[in-house]
């Protein structure tokens, strides 16, 4: 064996090891979801889809899923509107306090979700909004805001400044430059940002644990509550369904809106 082939073998072993390390926990959960018996055994002793059926028909999960959809659509949309406006302001204008605004906007990336959830719980108590939809939506909105803002900001920054100049040169007022040039060009970024926000919100657990109640709990919270009482593969099945759903959303988003560009993986 030549040294080149040896090196190549070493490289691929490393790649496989990293892949295994990253996907193993998920694989274990997925494998237990098809276990025919009522214990969370690994490796599984056969193949059965009964837990999927139970997961889909379990009332708590159904309700939590609906709650999640309500929270997600409201929080992501609100974050999109506020985040896009922020992104446009930061992109377009230089003003005092711009740095501070940016810092506040990015802060949910640094501050633990635990802290944010706890903070919202205390705030909710002060305003009598404990564990209601308003509080959950507000909390989720803050959590997903950096991602939406980032997506829109990157799309804006990717617009060739000559395009807006050309539009003005051809007689477009600032309003028309915004509506005819900038908005259509950032629309994919906005859609992609909304989808990322939706996925994050749908699967968020830590902060949601504090701000949701038994009536308003979202799916990850319902799953946690379930597994504290029953240790059967139903949670594995619902996990699998959640993974499949989010993968599908991300795949469609990448195809339709170029998620790579939205996430600034290649900016030109």
């Amino acid at each position: 064996m030549t040294s080149h082939r040896l090196r190549s073998l070493g490289f691929w072993s490393l790649v496989v090891a990293i892949l295994a390390y990253m996907t193993l926990p998920t694989l274990v959960v997925l494998m237990t979801s098809v276990n025919p018996t009522e214990i969370l055994a690994f490796p599984p002793e056969g193949i059965s889809f009964q837990w999927y059926e139970k997961a889909l028909t379990y009332p708590d999960f159904q309700r939590a899923f609906k709650n999640g959809l309500i929270v997600t659509s409201l929080a992501s949309t609100a974050a999109l509107i506020v985040g896009s406006t922020f992104a446009w302001l930061v992109h377009r204008y230089t003003f005092r306090g711009r740095g501070l605004l940016e810092a506040v906007l990015w802060s949910p990336l640094i501050i633990p979700h635990f802290t944010l959830g706890f903070g919202f719980l205390l705030l909710g108590g002060a305003f009598g909004l404990q564990q209601g939809y308003v509080m959950i939506v507000l909390a989720h909105m803050v959590l997903v805001m950096p991602f939406v803002t980032r997506a829109v900001y990157v799309s804006l920054a990717n617009i060739d400044p000559d395009l807006t100049r050309a539009a003005a040169n051809l007689g477009a007022s600032p309003f028309h430059v915004l509506t005819r040039i900038e908005l259509p060009l950032v629309l994919p970024g906005m859609a992609g940002g909304w989808l990322i926000a939706a996925v994050l919100s749908l699967t968020e657990f830590t902060a949601s644990l504090y701000v949701t109640g038994s009536r308003t709990q979202t799916l990850p919270v319902a799953m946690y509550n379930y597994i504290r009482e029953y240790a059967d593969p139903t949670v594995s099945a619902i996990s699998a369904l959640l993974i499949i759903a989010t993968t599908l959303i991300m795949f469609i988003a990448d195809r339709a809106f170029g998620l790579r560009r939205v996430l600034a993986i290649d900016t030109h």
Binding site: D162, R165, A168, N169, H176, R180
Partner: protein, 367 residues
């Protein structure tokens, strides 16, 4: 069809200045551009030509001075109210619109009636030979086609002035030559007052009515291409336009009807005294001589202004050859002769005698 003829505007720049912090972008430029003129701003990158264009378009605000179009001071007018068309170096075609919508954009912003827009765009498409491309996305077009869409889009609004910001620099050589002809045709057909920015002296010489040579934010000379080539105003213009030999600084001596250049270390070069040169006896001057005004001396030829040197390089260019000769006391002199015979007659390293046609030289006062 309603075809209002284009009424080209006259443009005047009055002591226009642009500072970038402590750096000077454009230094007090005053310039009059005639109705329907094709004027070129020529200079190396960073000379201020694009900054000047940006101020005329309204993307940059002058630090001082004013810009007047047809008697109206437009210095403070927003770009979208200026009626000035522009073709960008990057073309800046709208990627989310097809060819038709790109060209129609300016007309739609002017709230023109739909039927009229269709007619105007059709005419622009015909003029720029873009028939059949109306529905194409701009990303599906070649560089030359994109260029023509950009031109059609700028011309269709019947602008008072057309600005061209290095529009040919992104094209390959053959296409550039072809687009040069098309630009010239377009100017002839539309009669638009056109301001063209380029760093390519060849483009400037072949397209322009007049050329403004700029360097470090300042205008060096404003002249027709022929004047610019024959009588450059200073050393910068002389070396920027075409190839030229700069001889060492010499003493200008008048002796009756003859004038002589006394070159330290290389003897005297004589020329008929031309009163228009206006140098006093004893002035320090520098002579600039085009390569076509230098030729190898014939064997046993006895004429004035022969210098001797050694061939260092031949650059064969098909129709002619550029030969570099190291001349003692002067330095490198380039000669340009027809054909390739010189390559065989004077191999590299061979001694050669050159005749300098000093009567054709441009003499400038040495600083």
């Amino acid at each position: 069809m309603t075809q209002t003829p284009i009424v080209p505007a006259a443009v005047e720049l009055v002591r226009v200045r642009k500072d970038f912090g402590s750096a000077v972008g454009v230094a007090d430029v005053s310039l009059k551009i005639e109705r329907g003129e094709f004027l070129t701003l020529l200079g190396p990158s960073g000379c201020g030509k694009s900054t000047l264009l940006g101020m005329i378009a309204g993307f940059l605000t002058p630090t001082a001075g004013k810009i007047v179009v047809d008697g109206d001071d437009i210095t403070g007018v927003e770009p979208y109210r200026r009626d000035i068309g522009m073709v960008f170096q990057s073309y800046a075609l709208f990627p989310h619109m097809n060819v038709f919508d790109n060209i129609a954009f300016g007309l739609r912003m002017r709230k023109m009636a739909k039927a009229e827009i269709v007619a105007e765009v059709r005419r622009a498409i015909e003029m720029m030979k873009l028939d059949g491309f109306e529905e194409r996305r701009v990303s599906q077009l070649s560089g030359g086609q994109q260029q023509r869409v950009a031109l059609a889009r700028a011309v269709v609004i019947r602008p008072k002035v057309l600005l061209l910001d290095e529009p040919l620099s992104a094209l390959d050589k053959n296409l550039r030559a072809q687009m040069q002809v098309e630009l010239s045709d377009l100017h002839r057909k539309t009669g638009l007052t056109t301001i063209f920015v380029t760093h390519d002296q060849g483009e400037a010489l072949s397209l322009s009515d007049r050329i403004v040579v700029m360097n470090r934010g300042e205008v060096q000379q404003v002249a027709t291409p022929i004047e610019l080539y024959r009588t450059p105003a200073n050393g910068f213009v002389a070396s920027f336009i075409g190839e030229i030999n700069a001889l060492p600084v010499a003493r200008y001596e008048i002796d009756g009807t003859d004038a002589a250049l006394a070159l330290p270390g290389a003897g005297r070069l004589v020329a008929p005294a031309r009163p228009d040169r206006g140098f006093a006896h004893g002035a320090q001057v520098r002579a600039f001589l085009r390569p076509e005004h230098v030729r190898p001396a014939l064997p046993d030829e006895t004429v004035a202004n022969v210098v001797r040197g050694v061939v260092t390089t031949h650059i064969y260019q098909g129709s002619h050859t550029i030969t570099r000769v190291e001349v003692e006391g002067i330095g490198l002199i380039e000669t340009r002769v027809t054909g390739a015979e010189i390559v065989g007659a004077y191999p590299i390293g061979a001694p050669i005698a050159l005749v300098l046609d000093i009567g054709q030289a441009v003499l400038l006062a040495a600083p």
